[in-house]
């Protein structure tokens, strides 16, 4: 089986062996189709279950590749039985994959999460709570229409709260995604495609936002390979 790390534009130099070794010390190899190649390692059986060490080892390989030239990282655990499957995929998806590589060239992904600072004062635990999530069930007799309108209102509160934090960061990025709120108290979970040269400016912006918003706590991590930017809406079925 082949464990796949990333897709990139093939080039003869430098040899993959000079860049990195794969999981379980297996050598890296390139499966090519046209201008693209998938970087893989070969194994008799799955080389890794998702332990922390395996995840970081996989990530190390992707980042070593990214140091050479633009990559589209694979989802962890991408395995195929043989090369034909990969070649077929690269052939079928050549145009969107090449476009994605062009989009991410020279960029890295930065992550920003923002949480409401705990604890929330009791008087804010109303049905229209600060982060917009539902904390009470509707009283008896609520009409279906009012229920939906209340949900919409809460969604807008959460969206506005997230946008207030997301928008200033998105302006510094070539592309940006904001995930829908997941947890109670999670105000923002954003991914930003930032030119390498703009990293210091982005970090300063996060610090500025933090200084302006003592009610929020920020976490910024990176640089990451562009996991969140491998597809665009034009590709047809996306997440």
């Amino acid at each position: 089986m082949l464990w796949v790390y990333a897709i990139w534009e093939h080039a003869p130099e430098p040899p993959l062996a000079a860049i990195a070794t794969g999981l379980a010390d297996a050598p890296l190899d390139a499966v090519r189709a046209g201008p693209l190649a998938a970087v893989v390692s070969r194994h008799a059986e799955a080389p890794a279950s998702p332990t922390r060490a395996a995840l970081w080892e996989h990530e190390r390989v992707v980042e070593a590749l990214m140091a050479e030239r633009p990559v589209l990282p694979m989802r962890f655990g991408s395995t195929v039985d043989g090369e034909p499957r990969i070649r077929a995929f690269l052939d079928e998806r050549e145009a969107p994959l090449a476009a994605a590589l062009a989009r991410v060239r020279g960029h890295v992904e930065l992550s920003v999460r923002a949480l409401a600072r705990e604890p929330a004062p009791p008087d804010l635990r109303s049905s229209a709570s600060r982060d917009g999530t539902r904390t009470t069930t509707p009283p008896d007799g609520t009409s279906g229409r009012d229920y939906l309108l209340a949900l919409l209102a809460r969604e807008r509160v959460a969206d506005d709260a997230a946008d207030a934090l997301h928008a200033p960061l998105a302006t510094l990025a070539a592309d940006a995604h904001r995930a829908p709120p997941r947890d109670v108290g999670e105000l923002l979970r954003g991914a930003y495609l930032v030119p390498r040269a703009a990293i210091p400016r982005f970090r300063r912006k996060v610090d500025q936002l933090q200084a302006r918003r003592p009610d929020v706590t920020f976490l910024c991590t990176g640089p990451w390979p562009p996991y969140s930017f491998v597809e665009s809406e034009d590709d047809g079925f996306t997440r």
Binding site: P73, F76, V80, L97, L219, F237
Partner: protein, 77 residues
């Protein structure tokens, strides 16, 4: 060098941990997918294979892609 661990007795979460959370968010839900599958197994026996590519989507998105969908009363759109 390495993790700047907070030495407070009750803080057992390190920078490594939060970096892992952000890495996992990307590794497990981002990145390129060839196929995209889930294998359900019981007691280590593979039982059910689920092809994810078009498993769940909104009706609007599916119609926009020209998919012919059955309605809930059995007719097709």
């Amino acid at each position: 060098m390495g993790a700047s661990r907070n030495q407070a007795a009750d803080n057992l979460v390190s920078r490594d941990d939060v970096a892992l959370v952000d890495l996992l968010d990307r590794l497990l839900a981002g990145g390129v997918v060839i196929g995209g599958d889930i294998t359900l197994s019981l007691a280590d026996v593979d039982l059910v294979y689920v092809g994810l590519r078009a498993l769940v989507t909104s009706v609007e998105t599916a119609e926009a892609q020209g998919l012919s969908l059955p309605t809930s009363n059995g007719r097709r759109r």
